[in-house]
Structures are given as C-alpha cells and as structure tokens.
C-alpha cells in the first residue's frame, strides 16, 4: 500500500472560475484515511497563489500543473498526451468533480489507465477495513454501494455531496512539477461560442420557487386579439414573473415542471424532473404543480417542501411538508407584499 497514490484533479481557468471545486479534497482525505496513500494534485490551468496556498494547506505532497487552455478542453485534443502523463504517475485512485470537463477528463483517465469509472458518488464510508462508495440510483429510490478491499478506480463526486475541506497550516512545501502537454490534432473545429442568457443553474439554488400547469389559470385578462396559444403564453409569462418576484424576495431561483417546457413556454434549463434536472434545495415551493412522479423524482430530496395548489387532491400534498389549498395567484402576490413590507 505504500506507493499508493490518490490523485485529485482540479480545473482553475480564470475565465471560468465556476469550474474550480475543492470539495473533492474532502473526499480524498476520507479515502486516504482508508488507504494511507500519497496525495497528489493535478491542476488543469493555472497554479496561482490562491490555489498554491490551498494545496499547501491541504497537505498535497506533489502538485502537477498542466497549463491547458479552455478551448483545448473543449475540443478534447489532449487525450494522448494526458494518457501518457497519467501512465507515468500511475495512480490507483483518481478523483474528479462533476463539471462537463471534469467528467470528460475522468473518461479519458478511465480509458488510459484501464480503471473502472464510478460517477455521482455521494458518500464514503469505511467499515471493517472495507471502503464503501455510494451513489443514488433508480430515481432516488435506491442506493448502490460499491465495496473495495483495496481501492482503485476513477471516481467523480456529486456537487455539494461533500463540504469544503478544512485548511491546515501552510508549513508544508509540496513538490511542484510543470508538465508539458501537447495538443494533438482535434477532429472538432469550433465555429462559434455564444454566451447564453444568464440563468442561474437551478441545481445550485438554495431556494426554488417552481411553477406548473396551474400558472395557466391566471385571472389576469390577456390583451385583446391574441390567439389561444398566445394568450396562454402571455398568462404564463405573467405567472413566471410573479414567481421570479417571490424568488427574488427569498433569494432563490425559478424552476418549472415538464408540461411548460414541452409546450414550449419555458426554457429547458429550468425543468425539474425525470428528463430535467434533479435538485435538492433547502426549500422547494411548488406552485400549481400537481406532483406527477416524473416531477417529484427530481425534487423530493428537497429539505423542506411547500405546496400551493387549488386542487385538494393533488399528489404533491402527499410529499409536501406544508400545504396550502388555495389559488397561487392569491397567495404568491400576498407573500411578495408581505416580504416587501418588512
């Protein structure tokens, strides 16, 4: 076990600060307690001072810096030289976060090192010298726990499954190695990169105010001369604005159920549910959402669920902590007013 190595990958690109995630170091420390391995860091991008200080405080023995530009990650032109680098350091365990780029690197790593890849790991346990890595499967209804007597593999960890690691003193000097990575010819040619409308990713929101089909029951009268579809779109926009206002008051984000996305009323990025996003916010406020299982799979892990619906028999009330049997168009404006008056 002496020469075992745990390698942690982080991505530090100044133009994409959201990719930097230190939570996996907590996972690495837990696994290290099991295997007493050396801890090595791979920095994709820049080794700036703040990254260096963190790496010192987390007691990494060695830092490998792979100064790779964003576009090279995007067109995946590094596989061969990355594979070569990985083989030279030959780790038994490699850990990743779950951004798109992390997962792409993890896949490369799995193929290059011929190690199994386990994604979306949510918890780590050690019992009787056996390491268990668990992930949630089957729409959140079951848990799959992988057992290891001696750990090896490529593991990626669900965002927010682990908290930031504790920082230790800085009296530690890791070895720093700058690794030359050569781009090979990529078959992918980028034609354009366009910034999208800035929607806060709902999976990171602490509070979600979600709207469903009930938003179409707005009492407001749409302007004259609209077709039925246009009138529905108008009502829905009014409804979404209202939810956005409440979300702003509470410091949260707006999400929607599938029917609004399928009928083209709301963007897909906002969809919660089986073919949308799985969210686990502190508070989920479901407004005019009936609570079909395809929707609740995506949100039933929320810590506190509040449902507002004018159908007393809506299944959403079965999973909500608090229910209000009323018209959302009466409750939400009142709630906004209440918040604003305070």
């Amino acid at each position: 076990m002496n020469s075992q190595k745990i390698v942690v990958f982080i991505i530090n690109l100044p133009e994409h600060p959201g990719l930097l995630n230190w939570q996996i170091v907590s996972a690495a420390q837990k696994i290290r307690a099991f295997s007493s391995a050396n801890l090595e860091l791979v920095v994709i991008g820049n080794l700036d001072n703040s990254v260096l200080e963190k790496a010192k405080s987390y007691k990494f023995e060695k830092i490998n810096v792979l100064n790779i530009p964003y576009t090279a990650l995007l067109i995946n032109s590094l596989f061969q030289s990355l594979a070569f680098f990985l083989k030279t350091i030959n780790p038994q365990i490699v850990l990743f976060s779950e951004s798109h780029f992390d997962l792409e690197l993890a896949a490369s790593c799995s193929i290059a090192l011929n190690l199994p890849l386990i994604t979306q790991v949510q918890s780590i346990q050690i019992k009787d010298n056996i390491l268990f890595l668990s992930r949630t499967i089957l729409g959140g209804k079951a848990k799959q726990a992988y057992k290891f007597e001696s750990a090896s593999g490529i593991f990626s960890f669900k965002t927010n499954a682990f908290s930031e690691p504790l920082e230790d003193s800085l009296d530690h000097d890791p070895e720093i190695v700058h690794v030359e990575i050569e781009e090979t010819h990529s078959k992918i040619k980028i034609l354009s990169i366009e910034e999208c409308e800035n929607i806060l990713p709902i999976e990171h929101a602490r509070i979600i105010v979600a709207g469903g089909h009930g938003l179409l029951n707005s009492p407001a009268q749409p302007p004259n001369g609209l077709s039925q579809i246009e009138a529905d779109q108008w009502k829905l926009n009014q409804g979404l604005k209202l939810l956005q206002e409440l979300a702003n008051c509470l410091g949260g984000s707006v999400a929607v159920s599938r029917s609004l996305v399928d009928s083209g009323y709301a963007p897909y990025e906002l969809q919660v549910g089986q073919t949308g996003k799985m969210v686990e916010p502190e508070i989920y406020i479901a407004c005019g959402i009936s609570g079909a299982i395809q929707h609740t799979i995506g949100m039933n892990k929320s810590k506190l669920i509040i449902a507002i619906n004018n159908d007393e028999n809506a299944p959403i009330f079965k999973i909500a902590n608090y229910g209000v049997h009323a018209d959302l168009y009466e409750i939400i404006p009142e709630w906004i007013k209440f918040r604003k008056e305070k």
Binding site: S108, K189, L191, E282
Partner: protein, 255 residues
Amino acid sequence: MRIVICIENAIDVTQPFQITENQKNIGNCVNILNPWDEFALEAAILQKEKQEAELIVLTIGDEKSDKSLRNAFAMGCDTMIRVDVDPFYLNNSQIAEILAKAFKKVGNPDLICFGKKSIDFETGMTATLVAKIMDLPYLPSITTIDELDTEKIISTFRIDQEKIMTSVNLPAVISVSKEFAEPRFPSFLGTRKAAKTSIIIWTLADLDIGPKKYANPDFNITTIPVKNVHTEMIRGNDNLEIVSMLDAKIKEAGV
C-alpha cells in the same frame, strides 16, 4: 449515410420494483425504452427524412430488451441489433468496450447517437467512453444539427452558459439533448413492421470478445426508505395570515 442509435432497456423508475434478496439485482420491475434515448432516435429519424440514411438501433441486453428495440424500430428505424449480454454487472468501460466492437462490426457507421443518460443508473458516461475507445470525436448533448452530410456534422451544444457550434468530420459520436425535438410516437405501421422484423443477435464471440468471466458484482443495492412526510395544511382566516405562517416556516428552516 449509416446512423447507429444506441438505446438502453431501462428500469421504469416511476413503477414499483424489488431489490433481489442478495442485494445484487433488481427484480419485478417494468422495463421501458430509456426516455432520454427517444431524443437520440428522434434526431436520427429527422435526418433520415432529409436525406438517404440507414438507421440501425442497437442495444446490449437479454431478450427482455427486445420490446424496447421494437419500440425504437417502430419510431422509424431500419435494422435492430442486440448484443446478447446482461449488462447489469458490467461496468461503464466494459459496456463501452463491447459497444465499440459492435459498432465496428456494424461496418463504418457515420454517426453514432446516444441519449444523454439512463433514467435508472444515470451514469451518462457511455457515449464519451465509446468515443475515446474508438478515437472518435464526441459532441455532448447537442441541441441542433445545423448541417449533416456524408463528410461532416455541424451542430450546437451547450455547456454551462455557453452555446458552442462546431464542425466535425465524420464519423462522430453524439449524445442528444432533450431540447433537440419532442420524440414522435411509434407509428401503427411501424409497430406492425417491428413485430414482423427479426432482431439480429450477436454474442460476445461474434464480436471477438473472449469468454471473459466478469467478476461478481462488487456492489450492494438497498432501498432508500421513503421519507415519511407528515403534511401540515396551513389554513388561516385570510391570505395574509397564511403567508405570514408560510414565511415563519421558511425562517424556521434557517433560510
């Protein structure tokens, strides 16, 4: 143009299922064509409507997968292939390895399409692993195919807050996002044709994969107990009273 669509016969997680006593498998479940794969099928069928294309739908699984294959066929595919292995105990890379061999045997596919992930085990890594094994370019979760001919595919995908348009020489591996298009239902004629068409079955030996003894599953599956929720209905004399109670509840939650 030859397009292969890879599908999964998934466990319908909205239906009841049982975990076997040894905690290694799932029994008594309902299987469906993985909903995410329907978007990949739709993307491929839309291309066939625009140009000469042969659509091959392929899966790894035992005979239980045939229904999903036929469903996919009935949407508008031409050929069905099943690699006869139970994928349950295979890990990601083993599945990708088998698929890569199967695509090779299909004979020079121009485009290999996947859904974004599976609804049951949700790894979402198969497409990219296959691409890396076959040394093909991979385009993740594409939302549009802007141009496709026998030479190249121009398509758009989205990563975080960026929309990225790329041109890629074929062959290529893609996964298709839900935003692409609403999948069609199998047609009546398609369903009849699917029932009459036989499925091509390949064994591991057909793919030159030796009789590897895959290790026993090194995982256990356990049920996550359903949160027993006691729903408290909030009632009040007027809306103001209701919202002040709701507001108090979220404050109690520490937010």
